[in-house]
Symmetry: C5
Subunit: 337 residues, 5 copies
Amino acid sequence: MEILVYREGAKTVESGFTVEQLPELLKEEKSVIWVDMPEPTDADEQVLLEVFRFHPLTVEDCRENRHYPKVEEFPDYVYFIVHGVTANTSPDRFNTIELDGFLGHNYVITYHHEMFRSINNVKKQLSTSPVACQRGPAFLLHQILDQIVDFYSPVLDDFDERIDQLEENIFSLKQPNNVILENIMELKRSVLRLRRISAKQMDIFYRMSRGEIHLIPQQMLPFYRDIYDHLIRVTDLAENYRDLLSGALEAYLPVVSNRMNEIMKVLTIFSAIMLPLTFIAGVYGMNFEHMPELPTQYGYFVVWGFMLCVAGLMLFLFWRAGWIGSGKKTAKEEGKS
Amino acid sequence: MEILVYREGAKTVESGFTVEQLPELLKEEKSVIWVDMPEPTDADEQVLLEVFRFHPLTVEDCRENRHYPKVEEFPDYVYFIVHGVTANTSPDRFNTIELDGFLGHNYVITYHHEMFRSINNVKKQLSTSPVACQRGPAFLLHQILDQIVDFYSPVLDDFDERIDQLEENIFSLKQPNNVILENIMELKRSVLRLRRISAKQMDIFYRMSRGEIHLIPQQMLPFYRDIYDHLIRVTDLAENYRDLLSGALEAYLPVVSNRMNEIMKVLTIFSAIMLPLTFIAGVYGMNFEHMPELPTQYGYFVVWGFMLCVAGLMLFLFWRAGWIGSGKKTAKEEGKS
Amino acid sequence: MEILVYREGAKTVESGFTVEQLPELLKEEKSVIWVDMPEPTDADEQVLLEVFRFHPLTVEDCRENRHYPKVEEFPDYVYFIVHGVTANTSPDRFNTIELDGFLGHNYVITYHHEMFRSINNVKKQLSTSPVACQRGPAFLLHQILDQIVDFYSPVLDDFDERIDQLEENIFSLKQPNNVILENIMELKRSVLRLRRISAKQMDIFYRMSRGEIHLIPQQMLPFYRDIYDHLIRVTDLAENYRDLLSGALEAYLPVVSNRMNEIMKVLTIFSAIMLPLTFIAGVYGMNFEHMPELPTQYGYFVVWGFMLCVAGLMLFLFWRAGWIGSGKKTAKEEGKS
Amino acid sequence: MEILVYREGAKTVESGFTVEQLPELLKEEKSVIWVDMPEPTDADEQVLLEVFRFHPLTVEDCRENRHYPKVEEFPDYVYFIVHGVTANTSPDRFNTIELDGFLGHNYVITYHHEMFRSINNVKKQLSTSPVACQRGPAFLLHQILDQIVDFYSPVLDDFDERIDQLEENIFSLKQPNNVILENIMELKRSVLRLRRISAKQMDIFYRMSRGEIHLIPQQMLPFYRDIYDHLIRVTDLAENYRDLLSGALEAYLPVVSNRMNEIMKVLTIFSAIMLPLTFIAGVYGMNFEHMPELPTQYGYFVVWGFMLCVAGLMLFLFWRAGWIGSGKKTAKEEGKS
Amino acid sequence: MEILVYREGAKTVESGFTVEQLPELLKEEKSVIWVDMPEPTDADEQVLLEVFRFHPLTVEDCRENRHYPKVEEFPDYVYFIVHGVTANTSPDRFNTIELDGFLGHNYVITYHHEMFRSINNVKKQLSTSPVACQRGPAFLLHQILDQIVDFYSPVLDDFDERIDQLEENIFSLKQPNNVILENIMELKRSVLRLRRISAKQMDIFYRMSRGEIHLIPQQMLPFYRDIYDHLIRVTDLAENYRDLLSGALEAYLPVVSNRMNEIMKVLTIFSAIMLPLTFIAGVYGMNFEHMPELPTQYGYFVVWGFMLCVAGLMLFLFWRAGWIGSGKKTAKEEGKS
């Protein structure tokens, strides 16, 4: 547990307080107290229950690490859960980490089992300048949450890139295989998760930016509305990605079918040329005693000529039907026309 | 019928009361009376109608065992139906059991045709400590309902595991068959059922946790909100599973199509190599008297050589087109690129 | 037109009144008058317009037999349309019949062009006991409507059975054909119709059970809420059936594709075995003068042996690739694993 | 421009007024004035702007002919746009024509670039009886709008018929071709358009029938509610058609796939019978010097017999697998079972 | 930065003011001041912060160029973001440019990084006539926004044309290829973007046209409602295009499948004719010593005749099954029937 205190008018944020000093500190009405609990212990929970007198159920919610974002207002404090992205998250396995927190009239508590880059950033910032604390705990909280939401942006860019590349892979499909499908499924799962989390988070900030939470003063609302706007974009992009992935999956099957058509054509062309030729050769392989063509001088060569004609005719018919040759050219023309 | 009574300030919960004592017990304003009716008889129903004077329609609802979760408020009591999971439920055949119940200002009645693990648990708990009764009937009811909802968690984990394994089966598909499809359909049916039930249950607890039910006092609301939060997660996961299963079904067809492409390729490659060779053999099987190649010394071997060349050329063409060889490698590279 | 009258305190329901007596009867404030108009005539409509003074548009609505369920409140009366199921309806061709009706402060009018089993049942009941009339016209109406909604249950069971059997047919598909598809389409159409009707009906009973209709007294509301609950189940099941049918259609294509894979495999296996063998036979059918194998003593048998080896090798390769043999076993194992 | 005036108590509707008389006529508080502007000129628009003093933007809206149905209330008048069906509309190319109009406290204005059958009908009616005018301008307007909505019915019947026939074509599919697909797409487009228009129109009449428009008096509301009910049906049917067409498209692919299965079966059966036979013939076409079967007396016939056995065995196997014969019968049985 | 000022009653709009004059100008209550900031600099932002005293967050929003349309009301001013179409946008790559702006009680500020044709148009107009300014800043703003929305129309027409042509390409599909699929995907992406933007914009103008923004006076509302109506059409068309593109994608797969059926038929017909003939030829190529047909005078010709019969029979069977010949005719008849 780390306790940071900003006393009104001070030029720095003091740190290094102990738990025992907390009750005293909380009595300073004008101070801003930030209690950060990374990897919290049972003792930390006791502090929440006994010093801050939070509802036992919310403290229990803190401990369990699998809740959805939410905000709950109590007479003296606000309890919230928001989700940040993990440091090494990837579009294939998008994951979030949970930040529990409390906002009181002169304190902010953050409680998390995993490392939050955003919290570290704010701490670093406070070590040089107390600006983030000067406007009260709601502003300090805004600073933390804003950073958390900002860390979604690079993840969204990753999604963007992956989906672009996936679509390209689908259409340039050299070898139909299931890897692309598995990629689509994994991305879809991640996107669904992203959308769920950010939609829930959006609801929270909607409530926060509308003045519903009485501990967030009127003049702070534009700042929370700013985060809300950011989350609208995140949710919107997540929905966009979901649509694009659905489209990718829908487009995949026709691509495979087109490919199957190509394979079938090769087979059909081969069969249609070779079967008649083989038949002709078979005819002159018959052992009838009376076959007028056999004893002729040039019969063999005439048959060869005939067979070449048949093969040529077949090729011509398939070419005219558009099955062979200029395939790519036609495709492009159709596209342009 | 089993009657448990907690008298204010008592250290234990008394049991072993008879139906005849009920009217007397109900007059004790400060007691908490729990009437549990497992496998209820007609006599039990008479008690509901005559001792508790419940509306005949609600008692009829109790008897019929196929209602959806609901809560109905009456002037003196609340009637509710919630669904728990059966003890041996599986993702393939998800099933629920119905618990009917009544909450009065000093009693809780539970009415169920099947065994509820949650009710047994609460009874066991009460036999050692009266804590669950000390805060009034609304808290006792909360204890029962909380347990019922907790039993959904292992079922959700089962779903999770089954869907994961199903997706794996789809992509590792050795032999296209309908078993996977049947599994998807069964799971989908279960998930739809789970979602319906939990969504309906969510509505009930939403109403209960908002203070709409006057028999649930203000200080009990956070406890009911806790169950509500839990049900949000259940419903949300059920929706997630439904999306994943839809995705699995959507992905299945392309997987089968990819497989068909593979089969077609094998067929095409065989035909494209064998048909020309057979034709060549057929040509030299013709019986023309004048075929210059036949009498030559090495004609046979030259033809063999030529046939090998043709076969080699075909293999080379197919290899270059990516139809044979390094298929899996290419797939992985595409995936990674 | 049939007129039934229950006079307060009477032990039986009187019948056999004529139209001319109606104005007199309507003046009896405490009686319950039920006017049933099966296969109504123009004269009946005149009664509605002149004796009851209903709005001409509602009487016109009665006459036209293709309206959706609705309820309209007028200062003195309520006009409603509900739909019952036809006696011989089937899941393939689900059809409803229309019941128009009016509820006044001392009368109920039912107007219908087709026979309603529910109306006959209530009449039969009234001929033995006046209970259904003793609580006023709103209760009498409830009795009729309750019966109408009850008749949906067997139809729903029929749907259930048909869909179960359809799913089974899809997966046990011996011969891909369009009959199953036609069945799915017919059932879907029926289910869509059922859902539409019951959803509209649900809205009506929602309004009726909320006390919106002032002619339905407060103490009658639980009875209407009971019908509403029943319709929730009907609508819910209809939605469930729609989802199952959509799933069935979605599953059908992969089943057909799986089957096509099977057919393709048979073709490929035959071709892959027979084409090389035919080629080998063709080779030794060539007429070259110098073919070292031909004059040998056991050449023929060696070739046979070689051909058997080739065939065996092919079969082995296909078996190893999982194309032949133990197909079903593998399928089950995959399913279980 | 055509001006029709009904003066209170008159027995006929007068016509033949000129624009110059309009200001005078408008002062007659108790008259009902209908100004119809078919193929309106710039002069007509001037009248709207200067005599009636309508907002310039609404007059501009009138001129442009591509607006959606809407209703706008102004202090003295109501401006509305509704869409009627064109006289020769067809399900393939469903099209609507726009009617702009104004309702004032003693006038109705209709403004349209194309001929409206409904307007002609109302005019014809007025030439024989002034009934439609006797209840004021709101009733006159109702008469016009009611006719417009009535003309949707035959179009809906056409849709019904076309979709029925389309479904039949899909399942009786003799020759897979794209014509059916094109039909589905055209119909879908039309249905989407119909639904959009009628849904928008429904909103308008919902507002009109709720008493939101102060120029429509209370006693007129049931008449507007009647049109609203009619539009509910239109929208509902349009949605139904959309669902059916989606279903038809969904069913088309399996039908084509079934057909492909049939084709593949024919190919496979032919190959599976002919390839082994050809191989056998090839074997005895080999030129080995020592082939014990060749010199035998009945070898040729034995081979023929053997080949017939092979062919028969193949046919038997395919028959047992359900690939040949009694296909249709099986199909029906499956359907019935 | 360009400053245009209209002083009440003036005949022209003055321009050429400098930043330094702004504070003075803003004091002129009755003037209309338009500050246009194309390619804004840091100095411009300082003006927004210091002269106009806008909230720092909104100024920051201006700078960042990737926000969604929105409108935010502050006590003295309104901040809005709307999106216009880029000059050279195409349906394949639909793109929008962002216009940030402020509306005060006597000024309009437009802030944009890219060239807006609509702004240039309004400026040109103002250089000849001050009409657009005479009704106050809300009307000036309306003029600008109206132009922006008008520029969507040609883009929509482009979409319309592209989709029409795409559908045609699908059905006239000569050569199945992925170009059409790529086109569909690109268009879909554009349409999704268009719909998102215009839906968000619609919300803004809905609020503006309802009198929610106090800086837009009552008599201006019809003008904003006009833009709102226009955006309803844009959004509606975008939804229509999305539906059409989804339909196009859905129709593509059956088209490809139909084509595959055609290919399979060609293959099957060839195989079914050639395989039996080759078999017959093979039979008479056998080297049995006792083959009664071989020594006959006309055996060879009889076999030729028999082979022609077989081929003819096959062709007849395929023709009767509808696989060959009159394919197109049948298709049309089916379409018409």
